[in-house]
């Protein structure tokens, strides 16, 4: 039976070392992609995720009933990324444009799903990064608009406009013959 995030965290606090690994496995992809989005540097992203997992591992007892574990992890990662960016100001970043979107999906998917995911990824890859991130968080990972606004440090209205604009753009990419209102430039 699949344990919930909260059950895994409780098990971790009770000394079940495997529980935190299981919890980590659920969100490592999100953290990995988020770190690359923030830091633009693969090496820094690797260390940021490591630091995030370490900090969460040690601070698990701080959990309270007012946020999701997923958002808690991303918030820790965001704080670490901000600290790292401050430290790295004098060091030029190594951009990784679209790199994370070019990887193949996990093996074992049906061919149709595989092709569909490739199409969706290709369409996502064509979006401006700020639109892509909003769609990732809201549509792929199910974050609420208000959570995304807090995580990205932007207004709720901006999240909505970026997300809607991104969705319109994706639809145009995936269905080029469809006469949709073209999206204007980002405000």
């Amino acid at each position: 039976m699949t344990r919930t995030d909260a059950e895994l965290l409780r098990a971790h606090l009770a000394g079940d070392r495997a529980a935190f690994h299981e919890l980590t496995s659920r969100y490592q992809s999100l953290l990995w992609n988020f770190a690359q989005y923030w830091l633009r540097c693969r090496e820094d992203a690797e260390e940021a995720v490591q630091d995030t997992l370490t900090r969460a591992h040690q601070a698990a007892a701080s959990c309270r009933a007012d946020d999701s574990i997923r958002a808690w992890l991303v918030q820790i990662l965001k704080n670490i990324c901000i600290d790292r960016l401050r430290h790295n100001r004098s060091r030029p970043a190594e951009p990784v444009p679209g790199e994370v979107l070019e990887q193949l999906p996990a093996p074992g998917n049906p061919i149709a799903d595989h092709e569909l995911r490739m199409d969706v990824r290709a369409a996502l890859a064509e979006l401006p990064e700020h639109q892509r991130m909003v769609l990732w968080l809201v549509e792929v990972h199910g974050f609420r608009v208000s959570e995304v606004a807090e995580l990205l440090g932007i207004a709720v209205g901006t999240v909505k406009s970026r997300g809607t604009r991104g969705r319109i753009r994706m639809n145009q990419i995936l269905s080029p013959g469809r006469p949709l209102q073209p999206a204007t430039e980002e405000r």
Partner: protein, 238 residues
């Protein structure tokens, strides 16, 4: 379009309110993306809903397996945390990143950190005349922050922004050390290898929740998940 695959259990919002639908945007929000209410035809809304469903089957690229292995191996080196209350978190998927921050306190921002640098430099320079310190009088028990003490530090010893971690260069070991020293959740603002009372040590600068104040933690080089010898734990600044 192709047949869709349902969302996984962790993508738990398949039937939630569509917050990004243009039908749910205000007039100004619509205008910001070049739409008017008249543009919201059934065809447009249906097309965007179709895109939303496509996104629901998208999967984020996984981190490389070797990298995941390294992350997990580092976690295995950490001491298991102690639960303040084993019933936490009380609700499913509930946890707060700000749980340990006292109400009314603000997080330390970079601006205040810069102020703290100046304040810390002044305080340290004035309070520490450079007298020799007997480690036996000031060393704390392993895992216990030491009482504030004095040492010949000046402003140039403040390694804010420095990353000279020395033996604590490994993030997992450093995190374990910080956890043992009672600083598990803190980001290191800077680090420098120093000589403390004739002993090699690592000086770590940490934030505090008091605006204008930094925390200088001096630990032994063997500090790690297995234990921490805190040689000094100095609040500096106001």
């Amino acid at each position: 379009m192709n047949e869709l695959t349902p969302r996984s259990a962790e993508q738990d919002t398949a039937v939630r309110h569509d917050e990004l639908s243009p039908a749910n945007l205000t007039g100004p929000e619509l205008a910001s993306i070049g739409l008017t209410p008249d543009d919201l035809t059934p065809e447009l809304l249906a097309a965007l809903e179709e895109t939303r469903q496509l996104l629901a089957v998208a999967q984020l690229p996984e981190p490389p397996a070797g990298l995941v292995h390294r992350w997990h191996a580092a976690l295995d080196e950490l001491p298991m945390p102690v639960a303040a209350d084993p019933s936490f978190p009380a609700d499913d998927q509930r946890c707060s990143p700000r749980a340990r921050r006292p109400a009314g306190r603000r997080s330390v921002r970079w601006g205040s950190g810069l102020l703290a640098m100046a304040a810390a430099a002044a305080v340290v320079a004035l309070a520490l005349p450079g007298a020799a310190v007997n480690p036996a009088e000031h060393a704390a028990a392993p895992g216990t922050p030491a009482a504030p003490t004095t040492q010949a530090l000046t402003s140039k010893d403040l390694p804010v922004g420095g990353q000279d971690y020395g033996p604590l260069a490994d993030p997992a070991r450093r995190a374990g050390c910080l956890a043992r020293a009672g600083a598990a959740e803190l980001s290191v603002l800077g680090a420098r290898q120093v000589s403390w009372s004739g002993r090699p040590a690592v000086l770590l600068v940490l934030p505090t929740e008091v605006p204008g104040q930094l925390r200088m933690l001096v630990v032994s080089p063997d500090c790690g998940p297995g234990g921490a010898e805190v040689l000094a734990d100095l609040p500096v600044g106001r």
